[in-house]
Amino acid sequence: MSTQPLQSQSLGDPRKPSRVNILRRSISDHIVTGLAILATILVLAPLAAILFYLVYKGASSLNLAFFTHIPAPVGEEGGGMANAIVGSGIILALASLMGIPVGIAAGVYLAEFGSGTFLGNAVRFTADVLNGVPSIVMGIAIYSLIVKPHPPYSAFAGGVALAIMMVPTVTRTTEEMLVTVPHAVREAALGLGVPKWRTVLSVSLRTASPGIITGCMLAFARVAGETAPLLFTAFGNQFWSLRLDQPIAALPLQIYVYAISPYDEWHRLAWAGSLVLIALIMVSVTLVRIFANRGVLKGGS
């Protein structure tokens, strides 16, 4: 409809595009292309700088003692972060134990039971919003819930805070993965007389398991580096502690404490700790990429 007048106009008056106009357009095209490339380089530069500094400063101070010793008192050489590494492991294990089952179950509800319903949409929306709640707010909420009525600071409280942060990520990825499972597979199972709960557990979840594992690893990697929720829950500890009802050391907390301290020896340890933390996270993220790339799902449809 709208092309009619345009066409008649161009037929009546065959305008040649002016050379200046073409030049202007192609120049602006090139400028924007250049700007986009420049932006990409500018974004990748800090990443390169951070990784370079981490390896440069961290690798020189990594040694066996770092993994086997607890922190040395100020002014003493040596010392390591063995307790922080173990403490992080304990807190993360607690968080995964609590957060992942709830997250997967909520994802199953969204994909298998509540898809399209108002409640399902509301839960999905709330999960997305919860994902954006600042971690420090999570920290003070758990402090007010667990630590304040039952002092002292404890590893358990830290685990709860991280578990809550894991739930939305796990839920959303589980749902996205379950939705990609073809309906024919489910119908085949139901047609054989398998009850619905069994279908969900043995057919849908198993078909989508590579993707769900990916989601869990991503959530794990995300909370592994969180410091803010642990400040007032796990609190940190300079000594060995494996008890769940006592303050416990954690790698990100220890890095924070050492980074803002005035001692060179501690700065050195902070760099080494960051290198270990980053290595841990990157290994899990890379594993995730490999998992996701040759997922079973690709053959599923």
Partner: protein, 351 residues
């Protein structure tokens, strides 16, 4: 069987016989192969109870997400009622922060949070758009996967490591190189007055910008991918250059989603704690200069919460947390709705 057949020879009984024999026959023929499955199913009983309880369990887990949000809200309100009663809404416009005399107001922190977040957005948004455009429209195919992987790695680096890097690399750089350059070039704007310690609002904004870049660019990329290719082809067929195609065909179609992505980045910037705490200088003061040290809502909680003596001090900090919680929830909710409006109902993605 043979006996039945003999009976069936007589015509009047025939229909009844066939009725009788039919179930018998099926029973006979199906006992051997089905029995095991049927027995198994019978032994299991009706799946109704198991099904219902499984569905209820899943529903309970899904509703726990509601409960978590409601519970955080409730516990923050409950613990901040002392300061809510003492200061009321004036809390957010008062400039005082004096733990000794018990006089609290959140204005300096709100100012610091807004200033750092908006500055960070101003730096991050053009760059993130550039990266997204480059990755979806311009990038040669073999480079696409590695670059998007690297830009997602930026998102995986923990906040405390950004902080560490900022303290030892960005702060000296700011103090010795970038700061003097800014004063010389833009000194007339009065934005760079005062002593330059390296730590301050500008340094915090730069590190925030680096941190929110990957979020904005990856969501923008998803949204731009959701624009159907026919749009691009239509614009190109009219004789547009590549930039005109991106501007008219892609950016204009995805603008709501891009605004949503920017708001998601804003939500992340508002609540970011550790890296900002390490470089912002931690001084509750409102100053026009970007070199001046400041304080944000999140970093005042991180720094002072564990040493908050006195109930009013504690509940004021919780109220700051409550404000942060509500603001980020609103920002995130609007952003999510915007992103959904664009990506939902979009044709299947072509990757």
């Amino acid at each position: 069987m043979s006996a039945e057949r003999e009976h069936g020879a007589t015509s009047p009984v025939k229909p009844t016989v066939s009725v009788v024999s039919a179930p018998k026959e099926t029973q006979v023929t199906t006992t051997e192969p089905v029995s095991q499955v049927r027995q198994f199913l019978n032994a299991r009983g009706s799946g109704l109870i198991a099904d219902r309880s499984f569905a209820a369990l899943m529903l309970a887990c899904a509703c726990s997400i509601f409960l978590i949000v409601l519970f955080i809200f409730w516990i923050l309100i409950k613990n901040s009622h002392l300061s809510l009663n003492a200061f009321g809404w004036k809390f957010f416009v008062r400039e005082a922060w004096d733990p000794v005399s018990g006089d609290f107001g959140a204005l300096p922190f709100i100012y610091g949070t807004l200033a750092t977040s908006l500055l960070a957005l101003a730096m991050a948004v053009p760059l993130a758009l550039g990266v997204a455009i480059f990755l979806t429209e311009l990038c040669p195919r073999p480079l696409r996967a590695p670059i998007s992987f690297l830009s997602e790695l930026l998102a995986a680096i923990p906040s405390v490591v950004y902080g560490l890097w900022a303290v030892f690399v960005l702060v000296p750089l700011m103090r010795d190189t970038l700061g003097p350059f800014l004063v010389k070039t833009f000194g007339w704007t009065k934005l760079f007055d005062g002593p330059n310690f390296g730590v301050g609002i500008l340094t915090a904004s730069i590190i925030l910008a680096i941190m929110i870049l990957p979020i904005i660019s990856s969501i923008t990329r998803d949204i731009m991918k959701a624009v159907p290719n026919s749009q691009r082809e239509a614009v190109l067929a009219l004789g547009a250059t590549r930039w005109e195609m991106i501007r008219i065909g892609v950016l204009r179609n995805s603008r709501i989603g891009i605004v949503g992505a920017i708001m998601l980045g804003l939500g992340r910037a508002l609540g970011e704690t550790m890296a900002v705490t390490m470089v912002i200088g931690n001084h509750p003061d409102i100053s026009k200069s970007l070199f001046a040290p400041g304080y944000t809502l999140a970093s005042v909680i991180a720094n002072e919460f564990s040493e908050a003596t006195g109930d009013l001090y504690y509940s004021s900090l919780i109220e700051i947390g409550l404000a942060l919680f509500l603001v980020t929830i609103v920002v995130n909710a609007i952003a999510r709705l915007m992103v959904w409006a664009v990506t939902r109902g979009a044709p299947s993605r072509i990757s």
